[in-house]
């Protein structure tokens, strides 16, 4: 099966600062991959490239079978995106956001959207400016899932959330991923949560994918607690090194 996202030799620099230098990454369909890396490693840049919001300097990138730079509309209609914090208008309510987005996504599932919003407890008629960050993130995740996208990109969805909300979002995401069968790429620093619902991991260091594959392949057959501990240690060890 063709990967939903396939990057090959992807390079990107902002001015003189090289962020990505030869990223190779392939996301098999139906998998959830956690993208790990230190701050400034280029994780968000990779997501921006996947959405066609930035132009790679070189390399090849295919998202759901399309080039994000040449066919951005096709790609964006097939990708659900959750930013690290809600980026919609403050006056907009989640209900208005769903109505605004619905005509742009051909696979938009309105009943599913309503069910998911109810499940997350999204306050539909409260403007985003009056929602907490967790409530806003849940509304954004609802919008991303309601588009029924083949690929879900989540940029730090758990950042800044209190433990209870973080668990709600994570469990809802886990359930929806298991149920919907879509492919997900999650950028997060929350290793414990990521280890719970992700089945693949990609380690981004020095502008390259240092390791990529199934959790078991990359990190060995370890118990969840041991896996978390290892990932935590990896995070703290800079520069990175992959344990044998």
């Amino acid at each position: 099966m063709h990967p939903v996202l396939h990057a090959e030799g992807l390079e990107k620099a902002y001015g003189k600062k090289t962020v990505l230098c030869g990223v190779d990454l392939a996301l098999p369909p139906g998998t959830c991959t956690v993208l790990l890396g230190p701050n400034g490693a280029g994780k968000s840049t990779l997501l921006r490239l996947a959405l066609g919001l930035a132009k790679p300097d070189s390399g090849k990138l295919s998202v759901t079978g399309f080039d994000p730079v040449r066919r951005p509309s096709r790609v964006r209609a097939r990708v659900g995106f959750v930013p690290d914090r809600p980026d919609v208008y403050g006056w907009m309510t989640p209900r208005e956001l769903f109505r605004f987005l619905q005509p742009q996504y051909p696979l938009w599932d309105r009943p599913y959207c309503e069910r998911t919003a109810a499940r997350f407890g999204v306050r539909l008629d409260t403007p985003f400016r009056d929602l907490s960050r967790g409530e806003g993130t849940k509304a954004m995740l609802t919008a991303a899932l309601a588009a029924r996208p083949p690929l879900l990109l989540l940029d730090e969805p758990f950042g800044g959330l209190d433990p209870r909300v973080r668990e709600e979002v994570a469990s809802g995401l886990r359930d929806e991923l298991e149920r919907g069968g879509c492919t997900a790429l999650v950028v997060t620093h929350d290793l414990e949560l990521a280890a719970d619902f992700a089945d693949r991991v990609a380690l981004l260091a020095d502008g390259r994918i240092a390791a990529e594959g199934r959790f078991a392949d990359v990190l060995g057959e370890r118990a969840p607690a041991e896996r978390r501990a290892l990932l935590r240690r990896l995070f703290d060890d800079v520069p990175w090194s992959i344990p044998a």
Binding site: L51, L53, A54, K55, P72, S73, R76, A77, F81, D87, V88, Y89, G90, W91, M92, E96, R99, F100, L101, Q102, P103, Q104, Y105
Partner: protein, 589 residues
């Protein structure tokens, strides 16, 4: 809901507060303006303009900077519809808000006028002509708003941008009023401007803001689109400018307005222009003047000064009223925007020793003629002078000077004779003057006694110029005569080459603007079955034709008694020989 409707709804929700605030404030502004309107200039059109301007400032210039300020450009870009749909909605919102506010402002003023019991002036087409320029300017403000970080900078930046984009037109049309734009040109330019503004706004927003582009990138993209779009308009303006500022004697539109021939008749000082083709049903218009110095021997020419300078009638003239070589100039003036220059008629070069400027129309020795200060000779009145006085900086005919009697007669003196009221012509001569009265009949006037005596000429007789001896050329029944007003005797004139065609009119051939147009030897314009110039041989009672050129022939000078330099069809300087069909084109060659 469709994508377009969704984006329009989003724009409306985004600008709703500002629009409702504007709607609430405008009535107060309209009321205040009407209350403080002593001149009555507030009408629905000014209300519309004020409403549109307010909407432009409050809403129109904030549509794009507002997204940047709220950091929502990324949200719009990452959606499937992308920035294109957002731009379309913004453009529609912009037009709707500006036009809607204009209509609202007009309605408010109209309503206020009705309430006050004052008449509401109906819109007229003249005012409506400002709609498209206003819309083009507003659209540029919208386009430029994507180039600046703050919406408050959009309007002044747009004014600078419009000035830069339109400078070729201003440079050209402001400088050469004769080359005013053709009716379609302003509309075409405004159309290009409007389209250019829309395209530039699209490029700024959709291409410039893509990939998180900033204001600099948006400005570059907008200009990259605007420049090629407006380039044809600039090229056209440049072409028009070139056609106005360049002169080519071989061009079809080449046209000689005036020409003065130097003293040795080997050089001509030409005021040339280009005659722009007329619109259907209207005559053409002349472009700016190009002063040319032409060497008549070789046909070589050069521009003597800057565009719009022109040679003027000379300050001095060798003729004293009896010159045998009429209209040959010792010096001519080049009137230039940067200052006047005197040219030597002999060398064709500017004179190095400047002489004090004299009124161009004053003859040398005007004081010796007995004229009081402030009186100037305008031209001939028969063998005398038509004299003018300066009033409020303008010259008005004040009387005539009789050199035979050495006497100035003011028009007020002639007004004592009621029959002279509204006289058409007055010719001074040695003896009785000749006067054409208001009814067209000719009479002899004794200026000393102010007594009129009818000449007894037929009703349709045409009296031509006077000879030096005071006889007048008379045309009657298709034949020219020499007419002695003192005796009433007529002497038939024949053509030396036996031409026997019908003659309708004989008039002096000097229309060169020279103040001292010579009467000797008399060269005449003859019209009738043949049109051209002829020399009068008074002793032999003959008219000697120069048949080298016919029709639109205008005498410039007589270098000798056998030849004449003429301007033909306002395009060529030609040497003609009297008594032959010989001719030589001197310029252009």
């Amino acid at each position: 809901m469709s994508v377009a409707r969704a984006y329009l709804w989003k724009e409306w929700r985004d600008q709703r507060s500002a629009l409702l605030g504007l709607a609430a404030v405008l009535p107060f502004l309209a009321g205040g303006a009407l209350a403080m309107d002593p001149g009555g200039w507030v009408d629905p059109w000014t209300g519309a303009a004020a409403g549109a301007f307010a909407a432009l400032l409050v809403v129109g210039t904030d549509l794009v900077p507002g997204e940047r300020r709220r950091a929502r450009m990324g949200f719009l870009e990452r959606l499937p519809a992308g920035l294109g749909a957002a731009f379309t909605a913004k453009l529609v919102m912009f037009l709707a808000s500006v036009l809607g506010a204009a209509a609202y402002g007009a309605a408010l003023v109209a309503l206020a006028l009705v309430v006050r019991g004052e008449p509401v002036i109906a819109p007229d087409v003249h005012t409506a002509r400002f709609l498209l320029p206003g819309l083009a300017c507003a659209l540029w403000a919208f386009a430029v708003s994507g180039w600046v970080p703050r919406s408050t900078l959009a309007f002044p930046t747009a004014l600078v941008c419009i000035a830069l984009l339109c400078w070729p037109g201003w440079l050209f049309y402001g400088r050469f009023p004769a080359f005013d734009p053709l009716p379609w040109e302003p509309w075409a330019f405004l159309g290009v401007c409007t389209a250019g503004a829309c395209a530039s706004a699209w490029a700024s927003f959709v291409l410039g803001c893509r990939f998180s582009g900033g204001t600099g990138r948006a400005a570059r993209r907008g200009l990259l689109i605007a420049l090629p779009l407006l380039a044809p308009a600039w090229a056209w303006a440049g072409l028009r400018l070139y056609s106005a500022t360049s002169i080519d004697p071989a061009a079809e539109d080449f046209y000689i307005q005036d020409c003065y021939v130097g003293l040795r008749a080997d050089r001509a000082f030409v005021n040339a222009r280009r005659m722009r083709a007329g619109r259907p049903g209207r005559s053409g218009t002349a472009g700016p003047s190009h002063p040319l110095v032409v060497e008549l021997e070789s046909g070589a020419w050069r521009e003597a000064g800057e565009v719009e300078a022109y040679f003027a009638r000379p300050a001095t003239h060798p003729a004293d009223g009896r010159s045998e070589r009429p209209a040959l100039f010792e010096r001519v003036w080049l009137r230039a925007p940067g200052g006047d220059v005197e040219y030597d008629g002999l060398t064709g070069e500017p004179v190095t020793v400047a002489r004090p400027a004299q009124p161009g129309i004053a003859p040398p020795g005007a004081a010796e003629l007995g004229l009081a200060r402030g009186l100037f000779v305008l031209g001939w009145a028969g063998l005398g002078y038509r004299v003018a006085a300066a009033e409020d900086g303008r010259l008005r005919t004040s009387g005539v000077f009789d050199p035979f009697r050495e006497r100035y007669v003011a028009l007020e003196e002639l007004a004592a004779l009621p029959e002279l009221a509204g006289f058409r012509d007055l010719w001074v001569r040695d003896g009785a003057w000749l006067v054409r009265l208001g009814d067209g009949s000719w009479s002899a006037l004794d200026p000393d006694r102010l007594a009129l005596e009818p000449l007894g000429l037929p009703a349709h007789a045409r009296l031509g110029p006077l000879t030096a001896g005071g006889r007048a050329l008379l045309v009657h029944g298709g034949e020219p005569y020499l007419f002695d007003a003192d005796t009433g005797a007529r002497e038939v004139l024949r053509f030396s080459d036996g031409f026997a065609g019908n003659v309708r009119r004989v008039s002096p051939a000097y229309r060169n603007g020279a103040p001292l147009e010579s009467y000797w030897p008399p060269v005449l314009d003859v019209s009738g079955d043949w049109n051209g110039i002829a020399r009068l041989d008074e002793h032999a009672s003959l008219l000697v034709r120069a048949t080298g050129r016919e029709g639109d022939v205008r005498l410039l000078a007589c270098p000798d008694s056998d030849s004449a330099l003429v301007l033909c069809a306002r395009r060529e300087i030609v040497r003609l020989r009297f008594g032959s069909a010989e001719h030589e084109v001197l310029f252009p060659r």
